[in-house]
């Protein structure tokens, strides 16, 4: 009899513990690895996320671990090797990481992790000096098509988001640019201001303070929604130009975890993230950078990730960028 009671108790405790484990996530601090240095775009978004995270996650904190290097590779590799599978280690994932896997042979690809959710997106856009000879997008496209390889167009590094956006744009309108690679968005803006290049493809918030000051202007945005701050800037999909009516190029960021993490935990995490993305404070902090809070759930994000992966693979193979192919 005693043994039976003991067995029943053990079973109940066991079941209770099991249920508690799944229900109680998170029951300690979650560590987010950001493979970029502090103060950069990725870091700002994830710190904004960390700020609102405790509200929806049993008051548990999210701490940011910056592991910068090799355009994101160092941090991802470290996560791959060291992160636990219990959902308490999460990784920043973005289009930059996906495109990097096609630039060089690295130890992972777009499918090495379990997707959790997308948390934001930001527009790519075309910047020119305020006094440049082009006043409309059509003028720019016409001159680009008439003089292949003559217009200098800046991007933020070969294989990076702005570079791929520039290539996609060039491919869509059937033109060729003289692509000039810089080491980051700030350098692109400097080059525009100094007159070194005639145009630049940028990502928010690069150059926006200069647009506000009247030194630069945006000819077109490749986002799916207009800028709240600049309602007059045309969208590529709305501009009435046939070739670019389907052209949406945005940079996006999301959260992934180690492959093999318990699906129940992933579901819980995704639910928490959904609430974070809908949080006013998060949305407003991102708005300061002209970044749009956007949620894509687990399956939708996985499908989107795959679509982007194929798009980049195609573009990088065609243009012969990097040395993987």
């Amino acid at each position: 009899m005693k043994k039976l009671v003991a067995l029943l108790l053990a079973l109940m405790l066991g079941l209770g513990a099991f249920a508690a484990l799944a229900e109680e996530y998170p029951s300690k601090t979650v560590e987010a690895t950001v493979p970029w240095s502090a103060g950069g775009g990725a870091d700002i978004v994830f710190r904004a996320l960390a700020k609102v995270f405790p509200k929806y996650a049993n008051d548990q904190q999210m701490v940011i671990k910056n592991v910068a290097g090799a355009s994101g590779v160092t941090g991802v590799v470290e996560f791959l090797l060291n992160a636990s599978k219990d959902g308490y280690n999460i990784l920043h994932w973005s289009n930059a990481h996906v495109s990097k896997t096609h630039m060089t042979k690295v130890d992972y690809d777009a499918y090495s992790f379990d997707m959790v959710a997308q948390i934001c997106e930001s527009a790519n856009y075309l910047l020119v000096p305020a006094d440049s000879k082009w006043n409309t997008l059509q003028e720019f496209i016409d001159e680009a098509k008439a003089n292949p390889g003559m217009i200098s167009l800046a991007d933020a590094g070969v294989g990076g988001g702005n570079n791929i956006a520039a290539e996609l744009f060039a491919e869509a309108i059937g033109a060729e640019f003289n692509l000039i690679h810089y080491a980051g968005g700030a350098d692109e803006v400097t080059a525009l201001l100094s007159g070194e290049v005639e145009a630049a493809i940028c990502n928010t918030p690069e150059g926006m303070t200069n647009v506000d000051a009247g030194q630069l202007k945006i000819l077109v945005s490749f986002a799916s929604k207009p800028f709240e701050h600049y309602p007059d800037v045309p969208l590529a999909i709305d501009a009435g130009i046939e070739e670019i009516k389907d052209l949406v190029i945005e940079q996006w960021r999301g959260v992934v975890v180690q492959k093999g993490t318990d699906p129940a935990v992933i579901e819980k995490l995704a639910a928490i993230l959904e609430q974070c993305v809908a949080d006013e404070e998060f949305i407003n902090t991102l708005k300061e950078q002209q970044v749009v809070a956007r949620f894509r759930g687990t399956d939708e994000f996985a499908a989107f990730n795959e679509a982007e992966d194929k798009r980049f693979e195609n573009m990088i193979k065609t243009k012969g960028l990097g040395d993987r192919y």
Binding site: G39, N178, D212
Partner: protein, 502 residues
């Protein structure tokens, strides 16, 4: 303008702001003094504090850290033959020899005073003529950066000390090391051997730690007794005499101006400024042969130029929203994090922030001078500690510094590797300073040449038709010419002496 400056000063003298500013300077000096930690890492380490502060207070604290770290690097350079930050890489050339002569206190004192002068010069430029100077930042195109890098590389010859050939080889190795990683033009991997870590190449900080600090530790272990200490220090005399002050004052002013100029140009910073200033002052000095042996002018030139870059780098940041060097770019990130929109409209939208920065920078120089002279009095005692305690401590600090870079042991291994490499360099007489120059300037030269030619569509004449580029190239040719002429003269003189003897 003066009204706003006064209100800026009023803000800065409030207890909380003043306290945070002093804290920033003090932390900056300490971080600068630890090999491997630099101003940018210091800002990142203070981010949690910055996050919770009023943005104006945060700004002056960060500026304090920036200026403090520029001076702090010299402390390690003088005492331990290791630059605490890349901007102090040229301070070892004259600073450590002075320490070996027992004059570490005076060396640090001169460094503090020169840092002060450089900082004041750059702050005055910042306050009075920032918008005009910002235009200089925009005049530099890729071709000009390339020629500046070439000019910087020719300076290698004068930073080589006695043996120019070994110095040039050292510099060439530095350039080779810098090619490891991802090629910025087509994205190819170079010398990465398939390793994900090497895709990034070697960061300058672990290389610096290894080649200077760890090699020094290894060298000391090999050559000295455990209880030995570096030369008995004259700790009473840390303030230079008036005569000495008159001697290096001009070097400090010129160095400061060079620092401002380099600081304004985006993408260049303290490290380049310090070598440039060292070279220029050596050429202009009445006693060029003393350089490398403990010349006060040498220290003055380096320290005033690296503090000159602080005000200089703030100019494009505040007028155009473009960071002038590495530390200001991290500062920009930190400010964005707390919601300060740094850009061309800062002057019009937030003039109080701007004038707070101006006032803050002025007061920071005095704080730094005070703290610096205090260190000059106290720090030489470090050299009284026997090597068997000092060296392990240095080693631990180096490892911490290398690790902090990205919370990853990779950089520690890099530093160790370069430590061994640096040991052999020291053993066979290869100077380390040109290696640093090579690592920094090699990529700058390559990327900008590539960019210049891509923009001009393979038209090489762009290098000589642009006035700035042409000037630097002419200067480089002139420098090389002078070096060859001097070497030939030396050889002829030696030949004559041997003839006479024979």
């Amino acid at each position: 303008m003066f009204n706003e400056l006064i209100s800026g000063l009023q803000f800065v003298f409030q207890p909380y702001a003043f306290l945070m500013m002093s804290f920033g300077v003090m932390v900056g000096i300490i971080i600068g003094a630890i090999p491997g930690l630099s101003g940018s890492i210091g800002i990142i380490l203070l981010m949690p504090l910055v996050y919770r502060m009023d943005s104006n207070v945060a700004m002056v604290m960060l500026c304090g850290l920036f200026c403090g770290s520029m001076f702090g690097g010299s402390v390690a350079a003088i005492l331990l033959n290791t630059p605490g930050t890349p901007s102090a890489a040229a301070t070892v050339l004259d600073g450590h020899p002075l320490a070996r002569q027992g004059e570490a206190g005076k060396a640090i004192g001169v460094a503090a005073i020169s840092s002060f002068i450089g900082g004041v010069v750059s702050t005055i430029c910042l306050i009075l003529i920032a918008p005009e100077l910002a235009k200089v930042a925009l005049k530099f195109h890729a071709a000009d950066y390339f020629s500046l890098a070439v000019f910087g590389l020719t300076i290698m010859a004068s930073a080589s000390g006695k043996n120019m050939l070994k110095g040039l080889m050292s510099g060439a190795v530095g350039m080779l090391i810098a090619t490891i990683g991802t090629d910025p033009i087509v994205g190819n991997s170079r010398f990465t051997f398939g390793s994900g870590y090497l895709l990034n190449g070697f960061n300058i900080l672990p290389v610096l730690i290894g080649v200077f600090a760890i090699s020094e530790v290894l060298m000391t272990v090999r050559t000295q007794a455990a209880d030995a200490t570096i030369q008995e220090q004259n700790v009473r005399n840390f303030f230079p005499s008036f005569k000495e002050f008159k001697g290096f004052f001009w070097a400090a002013i010129v160095g400061g101006l060079i620092g401002v100029f380099i600081g304004i140009v985006p993408g260049t910073g303290g490290a380049i400024a310090c070598f440039l200033a060292y070279n220029v002052i050596q050429r202009l000095s009445k006693h060029p042969e003393r350089f490398g042996q403990g010349s006060l002018e040498g220290i003055a030139a380096v320290e005033s130029s690296n503090n000159g870059t602080t005000g200089g780098a703030l100019i494009p940041m505040l007028t155009l929203g473009i960071p002038g060097d590495v530390v200001t770019s991290v500062m920009l990130g930190a400010l964005t994090l707390i919601g300060v929109k740094v850009g061309p409209l800062l002057f019009t939208n937030n003039p109080d922030t701007v004038y707070t920065i101006f006032a803050g920078m002025l007061i920071i120089q005095f704080l730094m001078l005070g703290l610096g002279l205090f260190y000059a009095r106290v720090a030489p005692y470090v050299l009284k500690i026997s090597q068997k305690i000092l060296m392990p401590v240095v080693m631990v600090l180096c490892i911490i510094g290398a690790f902090t870079l990205s919370n990853n042991l990779y950089h520690v291994y890099v530093a160790m590797g370069f430590g061994v490499f640096g040991f052999f360099m020291k053993k066979y007489g290869y100077p380390a300073a040109p290696l640093v120059l090579g690592v920094i300037l090699g990529p700058m030269a390559e990327q900008n040449l590539n960019r210049a030619l891509t923009i001009s569509r393979n038209d090489w004449s762009v290098l000589v038709t642009r006035p700035i580029s042409l000037s630097f190239l002419i200067l480089s040719v002139a420098l090389i010419g002078i070096a060859i002429y001097n070497a030939a003269k030396e050889a002829k003189k030696n030949q004559e002496t041997t003839d006479v003897v024979a």
